[in-house]
Symmetry: C3
Subunit: 154 residues, 3 copies
């Protein structure tokens, strides 16, 4: 592990502050919905240059994930994987009243992320080159999903 | 994605502060233990109206998850799912000295969450209507589990 | 749940501040790489006694996990488990151009953590006795991985 002191800097203590908001994302069935730009534009509106941004999905049948934003096949293969390990098969589950896709949706949500915190460095999200932030929809029908955002910084 | 500016507000900068504590949860075998109310009541004690609350489980055979708090069958089906993908079968594992449930417990913990951060907006946790915060116990016997809590806000 | 008021304390409000840095970890194939000491030593450099430390991995084929740091067999069994549920088998995936280990790597990353936040209490990470913080490498070849660190506290 390399300790690069030059990249470890103390913030200027100008004024620590917080912002919150809720964004809504419309989904059209199972899959990943990139909302990196939505977070980015809110971050710029807030004018925070160093801080911590948190996204929290307010549902139990949708979740968050960070994945490669380059090849759309990655997203399809990921979706297939979850269909293999948590198939829509009512014989496997007790909770079936909300449809065959509901219990698999809760399982997929438990296996991925409900919340993500991303450091903000130099005014931008400290994402890697290929990273995109996705809402992961686990239900078949269209839904309107809420993600609570919080930022603390200066 | 809808940008609802009215819901994006700047906090009042009254006084940024932190609180920490550790809570203990007694478990009686595998399953989910709702401790949403424990976090909520601590949040009220601290009097933070805008901030970020973090829960961190201090174990490697128990974890955290957010799930539906309405139908108890969801919790049972979730438990069954993990038993299917990480069964108690000593032939599958090298690490067997701590009992047949120990290595599956580490796997279940790796697949779920060690830590959860939840925005605090308007004096309450920004949870969705059906979301509950659960300690996920992965071992068969009774245990006493510690969860470190941290809140920063104003 | 036990409410131990004595362990719930208000921080002194001396001065809230932030630090950020990026650390690099060299990997030599699939497996877990403990970097708890790297985080710990940075935490001591920053001199933060109460706060929240966040680690964020800037890749989509490596991730983070907290696991038992006592028995190396736990780490081997964990690796085997992921090979069973997301095997290197090109027939299962569309995204195969980057090698047979790439799509399984994205799946493993989705199932584990991209980010971890750990409370800092009394000048140290609030880890349990057996917890270690690991970079989880999912690719077969050697890589250089970046983890962005952020701390806020006083």
């Amino acid at each position: 592990m390399r300790h690069d002191k030059a990249r470890c800097y103390l913030s200027q203590r100008i004024e620590m502050r917080q912002h919150t908001r809720t964004i809504e994302i419309s989904t059209r069935g199972k899959g990943l919905y990139d909302f990196t730009r939505g977070i980015d534009s809110w971050l710029r509106d807030c004018g925070v240059s160093t801080g911590l941004l948190t996204a929290f999905v307010q549902h139990t049948s949708a979740s968050l994930t960070i994945q490669e934003n380059a090849d759309p096949d990655v997203v399809r293969d990921l979706n297939d994987f979850f269909s293999r390990i948590a198939p829509e098969d009512n014989k496997l589950y007790r909770h079936t009243v909300e449809g065959p896709d509901d219990m698999p949706a809760h399982i997929r949500a438990a296996l991925t992320l409900t919340q993500l915190s991303i450091p903000v460095i130099g005014g931008t999200l400290a994402l890697g080159t290929w990273q995109g932030v996705y809402l992961f929809e686990h239900r078949s029908g269209p839904h309107r999903r809420s993600v609570a955002l919080h930022i603390i910084g200066e």
